[in-house]
Every structure is written in C-alpha cells, then in structure tokens.
C-alpha cells in the first residue's frame, strides 16, 4: 500500500480516508467519475458545487442551566456533533475544524459551561478554512479560551501567563522562537478581557483590569492589547512553518522537510490563508509526500459508521469513543489529543475491537458491506471500506477462515473483524 496509489480510484479513496473521514456506499464511484482534481475542489469549496452551507449542529439546542440537566445536554450536544460528522456533505470543513480543535485543545473539563464550548466549536468550524490571523484573533478573546487558559482572571496587577505562553508555544510559532520575557510581555499586553459569568458569559474588555504599559514583545517595541500581540505572533517568521508543518503532519503523517518548507513558504505568501494551504497539503499527499498513518478513534469510527450505515444511536457512538480513549470536546491536555501512536496502545486496540463488533451488529440488513462480507466478496468489502487495493494477506486469510468456521451471523462476524483489522486502522 503506497500513500495514495496511482489510479484515480486509489487517489480519491486516499482523499476520502484522510480528508473526508470516509464515504457512504456508492460515493466512491461518484467521486471517481468526477476525477481527483474535482474531488479536491469539492472538499475545499463545496458551495461552488451547490452544497448548502452548514448549519450549526447546535442551532436548535436550547440550553437549560439546571444543574441536573447539564450532563444529559452535554451528551446530547456531543452526540449531535458525531451524527453530523456522519451525515455532512461538507466533511473537510469538519475535518479541518477537528484539526483546530486538536490545535487549541479547549476542553469541556476545564471550561465547564456547555454553551461556551459549543460556540467555540462553531467558531472553529466557521473559520476552519479562513484567515489564520483572524482565527487566532477571534480565539484570543473567545469566552471558552478566556476560561480555558485563564485570560478571564488575568489582571494588570497579576498577569496570568497561561494563554500568552501557549499562544507562542502551541498556537503560532512553537518553542525555541521566543523568550520567557516574551511570555510575560504577552501576558501583560493581553490583560483586561473578562468573561462575565453572570451576564450569560458575555466577553468584554475591562480597562481597569488591563495594563496598558507598552511591552517589548518578540522584538517589537510598544506592544499593547490583543491585536498587537496577535499581529506580532502571526507575523513571526517561524509561524507559517509551524502551522504548515503541523497541518501536514495531521493529514499526511510524517511529511518530508522539503515538502513542509514549500508549504510554509506558500502559506506565508498567501498571507496565512488556510484554504490554499490545506489544498496544497492534500496535493502534496497525492504526490507521495506523506506516509501511512494510524487513524485516531474519532475519524476511524466516523468512517466505519459511514461505510456501514450503522443505526447505532449517538449515545452509543460516544460510549465507543470513550472506550477507545478519544472524547470529542475533551482533549486530555493543552497539547491536544495524543499522537497517533497512542492509538496502537492496548486500551485503544481493545476498544476498537469492541467498537467494530458493536458497529457490525448495528449494521442494517441489506447494507452493501454486510452483503459483501456474507458473500465472501472481500474485494468489494475492502473497496467499500475505501481500500480499493484490497486487504493485506493476513487480514484476507483471517476473514476467510472465519467465514468458513461455523459461526452464527457469519457476515456480521466477518464485517466486525474487517472493521477492526489493522488495514482499516492504517489510512
């Protein structure tokens, strides 16, 4: 298995695995007919092809602040998100929003107020392919972020450097490009933004809490206020490379340095517009710049739900994700979800096996994957799972042995093992 493969079908399947988080049965044929370039266009700009704009999964969610209702509403909200990921016709927007969710790593466990987290997630999706400077600016005074990294409690008298540090280390340029003095300067310059919990978590700027003393920040004198901090951070020469490299690793696996340098240069030239960068990353992947990747639990599960048409309720989906160790809205720390090797750990492997069995059981009769599995048509099954080159020898032999043992529900059993196989974990 090469990164993408040579035929149009291979290339479109590669895009579908990495950028669309799977396809529903029949869609691979449709996309293959469109051709690789048109598929990239469709991923990047679905509106141009007449796909309706995305409505927030939480548009009609009325938040009930009653203590007892909060937990249920949280489960409901995350469930709607997962359902939308399966049903959306704008999958790349969501995949990019997920990238930013991983990047900023705002966690419900810290924010602890659902509407603010959901507004943050909407912001990430709506800005996912927009202007990077605008995104950093908006996130810097977003209520969820002000709570997550303590901006709301940071004052001129005692600046809290949590956001200032991560803005530099994690969100823009990466370690090694700034000093501890820069961290403190950012903290001072960013003071004054407050989330008013008693006024519906409204964000406002409170001059008495702000220290307007001009700071020297990243070599620039006279920096004060959030706009100047954001400008200095995003205009730092290391920022385009840091972001381009991270995006490339996210979609391509360990991409080669030359490819990343090229991506960084064009990202800088495009004034940090994300859409052209994302397009360039996908094109680089099709040109072989990437490597096989372990699929994280959320994209893995969304892909198999799409392929199977599983009727599993969203609550069940969340339970399986918990079992595999990746809960949307809850990155474990400010570094985001752990690296892909984590998903080879024993816990995640056991969780994936269980999830595959649950998905196979909830796959409706007559679903193409189930028919192919029952008919021992492994080529079709692999193709429906977006592996048009077929399964590995080990998996093929395992499936065939299983289908010849006297198992009840033979098709379902074969499907479960196919879904759990290493072949479908590696994308």
């Amino acid at each position: 298995m090469t990164t993408s493969g040579n035929t149009t079908r291979d290339q479109v399947a590669w895009l579908a695995r990495r950028a669309a988080w799977g396809l529903r049965p029949g869609q691979l044929d449709e996309l293959e007919a469109l051709g690789t370039d048109a598929v990239i266009d469709l991923l990047l700009d679905p509106s141009a092809s007449g796909v309706a704009a995305e409505v927030s999964p939480w548009a009609d969610l009325v938040y009930d602040p009653e203590q007892g209702a909060q937990r249920e509403q949280g489960v409901d909200a995350l469930g709607r998100w997962m359902t939308r990921l399966v049903e959306t016709d704008r999958p790349f927007e969501h995949a990019m929003a997920w990238f930013w969710h991983d990047h900023f790593a705002v966690s419900y466990a810290v924010v602890n107020y659902l509407p603010v987290l959901l507004a943050h997630l909407d912001l990430l999706r709506e800005s996912a392919l927009g202007d990077f400077r605008r995104l950093i600016r908006d996130v810097s005074t977003d209520a969820a972020m002000l709570i997550f990294l303590d901006g709301t409690t940071s004052t001129g008298e005692a600046p809290n450097e949590n956001y200032g540090r991560e803005l530099l280390e994690l969100y823009t340029m990466g370690i090694g490009n700034y000093t501890e003095d820069d961290v403190q300067a950012a903290a001072v310059a960013l003071t004054g933004w407050v989330v008013a919990r008693r006024r519906g978590y409204e964000v406002f700027f409170a001059p008495p809490r702000h220290d307007p003393t001009p700071q020297t920040f990243l070599g620039r004198p006279g920096v004060s206020g959030v706009d100047a901090v954001v400008d200095a951070a995003v205009e730092h020469p290391a920022t385009p490379g840091f972001i381009a490299g991270k995006l490339a690793r996210h979609f391509l696996g360990p991409a080669d340095t030359v490819a990343v340098n090229t991506l960084a240069a064009s990202f800088a030239d495009a004034d940090l517009a994300v859409a052209p960068l994302a397009r360039a990353v996908l094109e680089a992947g099709l040109d072989g710049a990437g490597a096989p990747q372990v699929t994280a639990p959320v994209p893995w599960l969304i892909s198999v739900l799409k392929a199977t048409g599983s009727s599993l309720p969203s609550r069940g989906v969340l339970g399986l994700l918990r079992g595999m160790g990746q809960i949307p809205g809850n990155p474990p720390n400010v570094g985001g979800f752990p690296g892909e090797q984590t998903w080879l750990a024993s816990s995640a492997t056991a969780g994936r096996f269980t999830a595959a069995n649950v998905v196979a059981r909830t796959t409706p009769d007559g679903a193409p994957v189930l028919e192919a599995a029952a008919a021992r048509d492994y080529d079709t099954l692999a193709d429906l799972l977006l592996r048009p080159a077929g399964f590995s020898d080990a998996t093929l032999a395992a499936l065939d042995d299983l289908s010849h043992s006297a198992a009840p529900r033979r098709g379902e059993a074969v499907l479960a093992v196919a879904l759990a196989s290493p072949d479908v974990l590696i994308r």
Partner: protein, 448 residues
C-alpha cells in the same frame, strides 16, 4: 508538538518479532473471551499466572522472604529480578512549594493567598519541612523510615514548557532530543529472551519514559474499561481468533506491522489484567477524568501480585497545571496521591509484596514561587519528589528550596532528578550510569 509530546510506548517496526510464547499466550485466552469475568476466564488467567509463578519458583534459588514475614522497610535482599519500580507521574507541573512545604518565611511572603496555614500543615519529624494536609496519610510511611523527599529537584536546562520539560524528564538526557525514555532504555538493556509486553505497564495513559528501541510495553488507559466485547449471540471465540489472525504474518510495511503487533499483546494483557481491574462498564461522561491515583495503584498492586514478570509500572494522572483557583483542586489531587500511595503500600503489605516495590513520584516541573492573580501559580522550575520503598533511606528531606537564588522567580533545580532515577535503577539492579548519561550523585537515597 502533540505528536512529540505524548508518544506512547509501542512496538517499534524494528522490534524483534513477538515470541511464539507470547502469541500462544494470547491465543490461549481466546477460548475464555466469551466468559469475561466468569469462571472459565478466571481459570485461564489463573492457569497462566500459576504457570508463571511456578517457573519463577523453579528457577529461584536465592532466599526470598516468606510472604508472611515481610515488613515494610525491614527485609533486604529480594532478588533484583523480582523487584518492581512504580513511577507516579503528576502531569501538569505539581506545585512543589505547596506539597512539601518549607519553613522559610519567603514562602509565605510570596503567597499571601495561597500559602497553607501553618496550623494545618503536617510536620515531618526531624526536618524543617511539612506536608500539605492532604498528604497526612503518608506520615506513617515517613515515621517508619520508608519514605524520603527530595526538594529543589529538576533537570539541567529546565524548561517552563510542559512539553519540553516532559520530554526531558522522560528521556532524562537534556537537549539530546532522544526518542527513548529512561525506563525504556533500562528495559532494553535488561531484555533477555522473550520480549514480553507485560514487563512494562503504563496505567492511565502511556508514559514516554517507557519507550525503548526493543522493548514492548502495555498501555492501559483505563483499567476499568479494558475488555474485549463481541455482540450477544455471536461466535466470540471465532471472532477473537480471527482478530488475532490479522496480526500475522507481519506486513513489510512498518505502520501496518506496528498495528499488527498491538493485537496479540493486547489480548495477552486483557487476559491477565481482567482479574485485577474490575472490568466494569463505565457510563459515558463528558469529562474524561475517571482515573485516580488510588484506583490505578490498586490495579498496580494487583499486577504485582500476579507475579508475571512485570518490572516497571507507570501511573499517570493529570490536573496539576494549577494556574487558577488552585487551593481546592490541589488539595483534592494531593489527597488522591497521598491516600492512594498509603493504600497501595497497605495492599502490598497484605499481599506480602512490600519488599518488592519502590515507588517514585515525578512531575515535569515545579511552579512559580509567587502566586499569580488568579489564585494559582504559573510554570516554574525546581520541584519535589517522593521516594518510597523498603530500602529507601527514609525520614529525610534531601536538598532544599533555595529561595535566595531564584531564577526568574523560580526555585532553581539544585539537584538533578537523574540522581533519583539513578537510585531507582540501582535498586532495580542496574545498569544505571549508561542509561542516564551518568554517573550522578545517588544522594544516599538507598539504605543499602
């Protein structure tokens, strides 16, 4: 960043092939899967455990203290190859100054809101230090001479970045950009025969300290949910067996091979840990913080009692990044740590395993001396560590917080954490200095 920050121990593409025994061990569990938690399953686990214990007994000729007579801090001489090192990782940067509290007045001067009331502190006999009141359950260990503390400890080139600092703590070679961890290198160096993934077990999330170039490790994020389940009425045995079959023959593509490696070791681990981890289904909750030090250490005690050759266990817990409103959170976190360690030691005593275990706490850095305006503390440098075990020269605080020479407002790391690691590896039987780029001063942490 993320990828570098938390790589998990995993089978490396260049790792030696899994042994036949490991494969068979995993396959042996297949028949039991239908009966997880039931008699068949328990019998299978027991079988393997008894087998393992029998082998150990047959090959052990040195004197091992009888189970009934071991006493904490007393008997030395458990053979090196039966010793287990337990590392408790307090992720986020534990606030050392509010954990192991100094009598230096500058502590209170810098923390008008956060300094712990003197009347609530738990004095450590024979020292000027005291413990956070939530750690009171550690006092009996201290009084018994089984626990030492290290103050003002950290790495050279200590970074205030979580991720940089953790990389260094885990690799234990500052600035070298090593991809291996200090425990992983020790496991590599002492690897003989079968590459058994159960030699090293990470509970609560993978510790990069366990990453080696040859060693396999087992990572169990949440012991309670660590099961394999098939749908009701399906052919469990056949499905699990087919899943196992997808693991071989190994692909020549490294990523696919790594995913294959994970399967038999997972089946082995599920088989063995089912008996010590409860296995109850967890209800879904938004905040994924179900793990506690207390629960994870109880699982660790269960693993140690299985006597299956596990040499290193890491226990990881999050939440120590206390930038805001830290008093209540930190108290709860430390109560879990203190009570968890005390309960762990008590369990080891009951099981007759106390002499086999050394426990060391770690965290990637300490926190700023001065409190911030959010009733919290920002990232700092020098931290503190606790070392607990039968051959620990306990009842002492080694080192100090040097308030007189703060570095950018931080306690300097006057002691190298590799000194603590060195004592731990010495106790395990070494080799030590080649693993830790030593030699480092052992700080007389061991009594023998």
């Amino acid at each position: 960043m993320t990828d570098d920050a938390t790589p998990d121990p995993r089978p490396r593409p260049d790792a030696p092939h899994l042994s036949r025994r490991t494969f068979i061990g995993a396959a042996g569990g297949v028949a039991g899967v239908a009966a997880i938690g039931g008699g068949v399953w328990a019998a299978l686990v027991r079988e393997r455990v008894d087998d393992s214990a029998g082998r150990a007994a047959a090959t052990t000729t040195t004197s091992m203290a009888p189970r009934t007579t071991t006493t904490l801090g007393g008997v030395a001489g458990v053979p090196h190859d039966q010793r287990v090192l337990v590392i408790v990782e307090l992720a986020g940067g534990n606030d050392a100054l509010n954990t192991l509290v100094s009598a230096d007045g500058r502590y209170r001067d810098n923390r008008p809101q956060l300094a712990l009331p003197e009347s609530e502190l738990v004095a450590l006999t024979g020292t000027d230090f005291a413990l956070h009141p939530s750690l009171a359950s550690l006092v009996p260990l201290w009084e018994a001479g089984s626990m030492a503390a290290v103050a003002g400890v950290g790495m050279a080139q200590q970074s205030r970045s979580h991720f940089k600092a953790m990389d260094t703590w885990w690799s234990a070679v500052p600035g070298a950009g090593l991809k291996t961890g200090w425990l992983g290198r020790w496991l590599d160096a002492t690897l003989e025969g079968d590459n058994d993934p159960l030699r090293a077990i990470a509970l609560g999330g993978g510790s990069p300290a366990l990453v080696g170039t040859r060693t396999l490790a087992t990572v169990v994020r949440s012991p309670a949910g660590f099961t394999l389940q098939t749908a009701p009425g399906s052919d469990n045995d056949a499905i699990v067996e087919a899943f196992l079959s997808t693991a071989g023959p190994l692909s020549d593509q490294p990523e696919l091979a790594a995913a294959q490696y994970a399967i038999p070791s997972t089946l082995s681990a599920v088989e063995l840990l089912a008996s010590v981890s409860g296995g109850a289904d967890q209800e879904f909750s938004l905040a994924d913080d179900a793990n506690t030090v207390t629960d994870l250490l109880q699982t660790a005690a269960g693993i140690i009692d299985l006597d299956i050759g596990t040499r290193v266990i890491t226990v990881g817990i999050n939440g120590f990044d206390t930038h805001a409103n830290q008093l209540g959170n930190h108290a709860a976190l430390l109560a879990d740590v203190g009570d968890g360690i005390a309960a762990f030691l008590a369990r080891l005593e009951v099981d007759g395993n106390a002499d086999k275990v050394m426990l060391v706490t770690t965290s990637e850095f300490g926190r700023r001396v001065a409190e911030n305006g959010s009733l919290g503390t920002d990232h700092g440098q020098g931290g503190c560590q606790f070392v607990v075990g039968p051959e620990v020269a306990g009842g002492r605080v080694v080192g100090d917080y040097d308030f007189g020479s703060l570095q950018q407002g931080d306690i300097p790391a006057m002691l190298d954490t590799r000194s603590v690691y060195s004592a731990a590896l010495d106790w395990l039987g070494g080799p030590t200095d080649e693993i830790l780029d030593g030699p480092h001063d052992r700080l007389d942490l061991l009594s023998v």
